[in-house]
């Protein structure tokens, strides 16, 4: 049990001053972080460095300074060992058009080190798993966009990696295909056999699939948060709307209960309740102060808020 917990807490990815340059341009600026989650989201606007980070971890780009460790393996010293742990689903189309789906996945599994017969068996299984069992003998060039995405996922998991890199996994998918992809990712995550890194600029994808989020901005870490903890903390976050102007006495009174308050837009009031305080007490004070509460919502500080704050923060910190 203790061993399992220790394994759970051991860093999946340790970024140790990782810097990547293309010529004179610094793309990743000395990233430092220790990511331990089962499913980690990489968020950031286009050009923030998400794909470059994944490519650097895969050894496609040589770091100009610093390094990173994946499940304890250094990407500079043991690139081959690192890649043997990873399954990679790239952002762009990646296939050999004339090859049948199952043959392609089998080829990739064999290159990852699986013997011929195991590679064939797992290629078939992976195709059924991603829902392409019926079309596995068709040439990949004839697949629809959604099928190509699923085939990319199949090749990424066929060899049984310990860590899965998914770069924009829902790129270009229609809503049903997107839903199916998200369900697959959640299923893989929930099985707990491997760790996931989901890079996306779609907040919803990350919110639905990840428990930790690393937000990048201009090649630097803008924020790093544990979504589960954020969600827990936000359970006591209320947004209140009252009739007319806010009564100063009312605000003072609820502060007196130990609440933190902050004025919001359009006369709203943001309130953080202290532990143990019931919402009912706010209504009682409002009645005593002759304030009419028109709306009271448990406001979730959504990933969108976290993301926007990270983007706005001048110094890159929340």
């Amino acid at each position: 049990m203790a061993e399992e917990t220790a394994q759970e807490m051991a860093p999946v990815i340790e970024l140790d001053g990782l810097e990547v340059r293309f010529g004179d341009r610094v793309i990743l600026k000395g990233l430092k972080a220790s990511l331990t989650g089962r499913s980690i989201g990489l968020l950031g606007p286009n050009g923030a460095g998400k794909s470059t980070l994944l490519n650097a971890l895969l050894g496609f780009h040589q770091p100009s300074a610093g390094t990173a460790r994946i499940l304890g393996r250094d990407i500079r010293r043991e690139p081959r060992a690192v890649r043997s742990l990873i399954g990679y689903m790239p952002e762009n189309d990646s296939y050999i058009a004339a090859m049948s789906g199952v043959r392609f996945v089998r080829l990739m599994a064999e290159l990852a080190g699986l013997p011929k017969s195991e590679a064939l068996e797992r290629a078939h299984e992976a195709f059924f798993y991603v829902g392409l069992g019926e079309v596995r003998y068709r040439a990949l060039g004839t697949y629809s966009l959604g099928m190509k995405q699923a085939a990319k996922l199949a090749q990424a998991i066929a060899h049984g990696p310990k860590l899965l890199f998914l770069d924009e996994p829902t790129n270009g998918l229609d809503p049903p295909a997107r839903l199916r992809m998200i369900q697959l990712i959640q299923e893989i995550r929930d099985r707990g056999d491997l760790h996931l890194i989901v890079s996306s600029h779609l907040l919803r994808d990350v919110e639905e699939c990840c428990d930790e989020v690393l937000i990048l901005k201009d090649g630097a870490i803008a924020a790093f948060c544990n979504l589960e903890e954020e969600r827990r903390a936000n359970r006591r976050f209320l947004e209140m709307e009252t009739r007319g102007e806010l009564n100063g006495n009312f605000v003072d009174a609820i502060r007196g209960l130990g609440c933190e308050t902050a004025p919001g837009a359009q006369g709203r009031l943001k309130v953080v309740l202290p532990e143990g305080l019931e919402v009912r007490r706010l209504y009682e004070i409002a009645a005593a102060q002759d304030v009419q509460i028109r709306r009271l919502n448990h406001r979730r500080d959504s990933l969108e808020d976290i993301f926007l704050k990270a983007m706005e923060a001048a110094d890159g910190r929340l």
Binding site: F22, F60, P90, S94, I96, M99, G113, L120, G141, G160
Partner: protein, 300 residues
């Protein structure tokens, strides 16, 4: 085989050795080539010339076979010597050029056309291993066409003529082996480099021929205008031919090359310039490959 399973499960089984993974790409490539009937027919047709050579060698040493067809004394018409083996190498190497032009372009371009390369390199498989694997497809095919039949014929002649002949003509055997390798490596590098840069298969194949003819024509123009012989440095068949002559005969050549790979008499350049010319061409191909064979495109 449990193809009905619809769950993901980690792989805990044994992994193959790293060197064994180098053979995966050639195996898939040969399966693909086998499906192309024209290539299979062409490949087997290229053994016609070595077969004729084998018959000639056999007949040379079998007077009764000659008398059977009423051609007594015909063995004096063809000598089994340097020219015989150089001609074999020259002819087979030209066939190798055709085969490389057909097979080479389909090696790298399909991987680059839809970015499959990143998937190869995201595995414990390096860029060098990728290039070596792809090269090995051509190296195996072209070896079977060139030095393998050459050495078999050399062995046949040695067997029939006596081992003292083999010892006296050992340089022919080494010339066949190393001469073929010079050509094979050059062709393989050129085919892969063009395949990496020209995505349209037919265009890449045509470009391979074009390089030989256009460059030699360019060299001839330089020779004509400048009244020099240095234009031959652009003529790949000249460079290869002069290297072959040295490999077969050393410093005292009696021939000026092989069929398709001949240096005009009196227009020879120092041997080292041929080596340098070939090395430069190989380096250019390697540079072209290094630029294209990458896991991710770098946009500076």
């Amino acid at each position: 085989m449990a193809v009905y399973k619809k769950t993901y499960r980690p792989y805990e089984g044994a992994l193959t050795a790293h060197w064994a993974r180098l053979l995966v790409i050639p195996r898939y490539a040969f399966e693909d080539l086998h499906r192309r009937k024209f290539l299979s027919v062409f490949f087997f047709a290229t053994f016609l010339y070595p077969l004729i050579c084998a018959i000639i060698i056999y007949v040379q040493h079998n007077a009764s076979a000659l008398s059977l067809i009423g051609a007594q004394g015909a063995q004096h018409l063809i000598s089994i010597n340097v020219v015989f083996f150089l001609s074999l190498l020259g002819w087979q190497s030209m066939m190798a050029l055709f085969l490389a032009a057909f097979v080479g372009p389909s090696q790298v371009s399909p991987d680059l056309a839809n970015n499959a390369l990143s998937l190869y390199l995201a595995r414990p498989f390096s860029r060098t291993e990728y290039v070596l694997s792809k090269m090995s497809v051509l190296v195996i095919l072209l070896s079977v066409m060139t030095w393998v039949p050459g050495l078999l014929l050399f062995g046949l002649e040695s067997y029939l003529e006596g081992w003292s002949w083999a010892v006296d003509h050992a340089r022919i055997a080494s010339g066949l082996f190393f001469g073929a390798w010079v050509w094979i490596l050059l062709l393989a590098l050129l085919a892969l480099a063009l395949s990496a840069w020209v995505k349209w298969r037919a265009a890449a194949g045509a470009l391979m021929f074009g390089l030989f003819f256009v460059l030699s024509a360019f060299g001839a123009v330089i020779n004509g205008v400048e009244r020099t012989n240095w234009g031959h440095l652009f003529n790949i068949s000249y460079l290869v031919g002069s290297v072959w002559v040295w490999l077969f005969e050393g410093g005292h050549p009696t021939t000026n090359g092989a069929v398709f790979f001949r240096a005009p008499r009196g227009e020879t350049l120092p041997l080292w310039t041929s080596w340098v010319g070939l090395a430069v061409l190989a380096l250019i191909c390697l540079y072209m490959l290094a630029r294209k064979i990458r896991g991710a495109e770098v946009v500076r």
